[in-house]
């Protein structure tokens, strides 16, 4: 487990972890991960292109159905968007453009795909970052509390709470939130990312956004709080049994320090893995919450792109989200290394 790559040798251990990031096997590692990532993204793009093209009906059918178009206009549109060509040629054209980082044009948004995505990425990014941070910290703390009080009423109470969080679908929580916080008490805005037409800047704007995010983030968090709580509790119980914890206690280190510094660091590993999964699933998967709270994020965009057969937009979203998944996985691997020096780059 603890062997390092031969190039780094013993000296690397002396130089410490941080140095390892810059010298040693890291550049090669990054290069290898990058080539894997490109392969993954290529497969995602080609796979989804085939999927969206094999579904009956095309973009022009949808546009035509929405707007009483004549056959001539539809033919004109098909030519303009290149939909009159065979699928493999369309794919070929798309790949050529993609190689120059041109994601194409989204006819249903009357804008370049990149513009559409850049307009929606911030919403998703904030939603993901805030809910991962909040659910992970709350979940971890609750897990630790449970583990420290294992078998006691506190543990039992928390377990029941976790079970409820785990079992209640996020959209039910979202609707309950709206009913109480907005319809009954009129405390929070329901839809959107910020007050529409607001002229607030700086802190006032941040406060405005925060108010808009309370409910969607809350609804996205509950399930994951339960997951982090349960995983955190189990990991903590396991780690607390280990010899080094007993040693630390024997040395007379304060219980707080033993728990939060010595034990928690090791118990964090499964939690970090979970965080990686959460980020990846939220990037494209918050469709329900985005729908309920009128937040046009990446999930909704992908969903609409599928139903409207907007291949360019769908591929663009998938390209960007697979890119972000690859990046997140890379970061998670780095965090493993920080948390546990025994983890090596492989």
């Amino acid at each position: 487990m603890s062997t390092l790559a031969p190039v780094a040798g013993v000296t690397a251990q002396k130089r410490g972890r941080l140095t390892r990031f810059v010298t040693g096997p890291l550049p090669r590692y990054v290069l290898r991960r990058l080539s894997q990532a490109i392969l993954v993204m290529l497969l995602v793009v080609i796979g989804s292109f085939i999927l969206v093209k094999s579904a009956p009906g095309d973009l022009v059918d949808v546009i035509g159905g929405n707007s009483d178009m004549t056959a001539e206009t539809m033919e004109l549109l098909r030519q303009q968007y290149g939909l009159d060509q065979p699928s493999y040629i369309q794919l070929f054209h798309y790949m050529i453009k993609l190689a120059t980082f041109d994601l194409g044009y989204s006819p249903l948004n009357a804008a370049p795909v990149l513009d559409v995505i850049l307009g929606r990425l911030p919403v998703t990014a904030i939603l993901v970052v805030v809910s991962v941070t909040i659910s992970m910290s709350i979940g971890t703390v609750l897990g630790v509390i449970s583990a420290r009080n294992v078998g006691k009423p506190v543990d039992l109470g928390l377990s029941i709470l976790m079970l409820m969080f785990y079992a209640t679908p996020s959209f039910v929580i979202a609707i309950a939130f709206i009913l109480f916080f907005s319809v009954f008490w009129n405390l929070l805005p329901i839809a959107g990312f910020a007050t529409v037409g607001t002229r607030a800047t700086g802190l006032m704007y941040a406060w405005d956004v925060a108010k808009h995010l309370v409910m969607p983030v809350g609804a996205l968090c509950t399930f994951y709080i339960a997951i982090y709580g349960r995983i955190g509790r189990a990991a903590m119980l396991e780690v607390l049994k280990l010899d080094y914890v007993r040693t630390a206690r024997a040395k007379g280190i304060s219980e707080r320090r033993v728990i939060y510094v010595h034990a928690l660091r090791n118990a964090m590993l499964p939690l970090v893995t979970m965080a990686g999964l959460q980020v990846s699933s939220l990037v494209g998967g918050a469709v329900l919450i985005e729908t309920i709270f009128g937040l046009p994020g990446m999930g909704r965009t992908a969903f609409d792109a599928v139903s409207e057969r907007d291949a360019n937009l769908l591929l663009g979203v998938l390209f960007i989200s697979s890119l972000s998944v690859v990046v997140v996985n890379f970061i998670i691997d780095m965090i493993y290394m920080v948390l546990d020096p025994r983890v090596e780059l492989a």
């Binding site: 009906g57 059918d61 159905g65 009483d68 559409v116 839809a191 037409g197 009128g294 057969r309």
Partner: protein, 544 residues
């Protein structure tokens, strides 16, 4: 549900009464303006509304889709507006005159109108819009203005429309939603569909664009230079796009949104909220957006070639029940290929009807040669409802149960929108399909397409999908396209309604009606035939 219906009618009646009290003659010279005088409007304030889905473009000259239809009239004016009863009133044109033979219409244009970028509006813009944009890119305009040969511009304030054949329906299609006038200086010589101005509108309208967040919201601000001096009253008009109807209801109820047009709230919520003191419901202002739910029979399928089978299915459905329970009273049971809002031409007199009657239905099926088999089944069929909103699907489910009782085993197929469109109008692989479609301000604009044999067009959604072809009907439709005498034109449409309802290639299910629901502080949101949803909302104001 009975109560609901009565309630609805009473509301409608009361709304009419209120208008009657406010002004002696609603159909006076300018009903809209007089109505606004009921209370003195206050300038200022913001009104927020919700809708779904978001637009592709911010003008409706190149599409007839719903979101654009709402936005376009705020940014753009048409040549005319329409008072209740579809009576044209001046907008960008101050007066108009049609020659005896109906081939020439001369519009005198308003002087001193400026585009949002400060450029003057002239006849050149009108000519450009109709010849280069509406005639080429507008779904309905393309056929409506097919015979428009040229638009002459003898001077900057005169536009003469020259037609090859008369087009009487045109006078109902000149508003800022149906034919918005675009700025020639921005669009001329560009790729019209991809012109950046499609999402950064420069119009002559009451509102200017402040900001547009794709798929999320559009913020509009008062155009201080608007030609209708003093208007609009509102400083700001906001539309937020929210997909979940329950969320929209919550926004409206909690005051985060002031007014909701076009039944964007669930019907039961509209009815519930309309009873509460702070809100009011208004069903006026949807004359140009009348739409009906109907069902096409695929006449290429053996069973449906026999009109007795089609009539039998009609007899098996209780359209009153559908109207009350599925549309929650927001409609009238379908009785004609036209919509009752098309008052000038609509009739049920002498038009065959198919009252709910299982026995009759069974007798017709026996007669047509489809007796019940050993297992009690006459034949099997598939129902394709539009996967858009709940009503088509629910009607499909209801129909399946009704058909079972007369010995037809029906299955329901649920697919996504693109597949549905492709199946019914391109591949023509369906038995019956249920959808709700716009009937247009005039039958030539909206109804003809379903029954004219020249509009049997593969690949064109909501064309003549049943493949109905009746020379007599074709002749009537073609004659009505160019008939200038309103009396003769009405006779043609009456005959048309009688013939089509006898043949029944398409079964009208529900002539739907719309409702606006608003917080009472919002005033004058519906002042003419276009209402706020399809009009410019220049008269709308908020109580301080």
């Amino acid at each position: 549900m009975k109560n609901t219906k009565h309630f609805l009618h009473r509301r409608t009646f009361l709304a009419g009464l209120a208008a009657g009290v406010a002004l002696p003659s609603v159909l006076g010279i300018s009903g809209g303006k007089a109505f606004a005088q009921a209370a003195t409007p206050v300038a200022g304030g913001t009104v927020t509304t919700v809708g779904w889905p978001g637009p592709t473009y911010l003008n409706a000259a190149i599409t007839t889709a719903g979101p654009e239809s709402f936005l376009s009239p705020k940014f753009f004016d048409g040549l005319c507006g329409y008072d209740f009863g579809m009576i044209p009133k001046p907008a960008l044109a101050v007066s108009w005159e049609t020659s005896e033979d109906g081939l020439k219409t001369t519009f005198k244009l308003r002087d001193g109108v400026k585009w949002h970028d400060g450029q003057p509006f002239t006849a050149k813009d009108v000519a450009f819009t109709f010849m280069q944009v509406i005639k080429v890119h507008h779904g309905r305009g393309r056929s409506l203005f097919a015979d428009l040969q040229t638009v002459e511009t003898p001077d900057d304030l005169t536009a003469v429309f020259v037609f090859g054949r008369p087009a009487p329906a045109m006078m109902k299609a000149l508003d800022g939603r149906e034919s918005p006038i675009l700025p020639a200086h921005i669009y001329e010589g560009t790729n019209i569909l991809e012109n950046p101005a499609n999402t950064k509108p420069i119009g002559t309208g009451a509102y200017k664009l402040t900001s547009y967040e794709r798929g999320a919201n559009v913020v509009m601000e008062k155009n201080p230079e608007y030609w209708d001096t003093g208007k609009p009253y509102l400083d700001q008009l906001i539309i937020q796009y929210v997909q979940d109807p329950a969320t929209r209801s919550a926004m409206f109820e909690s005051g985060q949104c002031d007014i909701v047009y076009l039944n964007f709230l669930p019907p039961l919520d509209i009815l519930r909220l309309a009873k509460e003191p702070g809100f009011e419901m208004d069903q006026r202002g949807y004359e140009t957006s009348a739409s009906s739910q109907q069902m096409d029979f695929n006449l290429e399928r053996e069973h449906f070639k026999d009109k007795r089978v089609r009539q039998a299915i009609a007899h098996a459905l209780d359209l009153n029940w559908i109207n009350e329970n599925i549309w929650h009273g927001f409609g009238k049971p379908g009785a004609s290929p036209l919509h009752h809002e098309q008052k000038e031409f609509y009739t049920t007199e002498g038009v065959p009807s198919y009252p709910f009657d299982f026995k009759k239905a069974e007798a017709l099926l026996d007669e047509a040669g489809y007796p019940r088999g050993a297992n009690g089944v006459r034949f099997e069929m598939m129902i394709d409802p539009t996967p858009y909103g709940d009503e088509s699907l629910t009607v499909g489910e209801y129909m399946r149960e009704q058909l079972r009782q007369i010995g037809i085993t029906a299955k329901l197929r649920s697919e996504d929108y693109a597949v549905f469109i492709k199946r019914c109008w391109t591949e023509r692989d369906f038995d019956v399909c249920i959808y709700t479609a716009a009937m247009g301000a005039d039958p030539t604009i909206g109804v003809q397409r379903f029954y004219w044999s020249k509009n049997i067009k593969k690949g064109v959604a909501f064309s003549n999908g049943s493949t109905y072809s009746n020379p007599e009907v074709d002749a009537l439709l073609e004659a009505s396209q160019i008939e200038l005498d309103p009396v003769k034109r009405k006779e043609q449409f009456v005959k048309f309604q009688q013939l089509v309802m006898a043949d029944l290639p398409t079964l009208p299910i529900c002539e739907t009606t719309r409702a606006t629901i608003a917080h009472k502080k919002v005033k004058d949101y519906t002042v003419d035939a276009l209402g706020g949803a399809l009009g410019n909302m220049a008269n709308c104001w908020v109580e301080a």
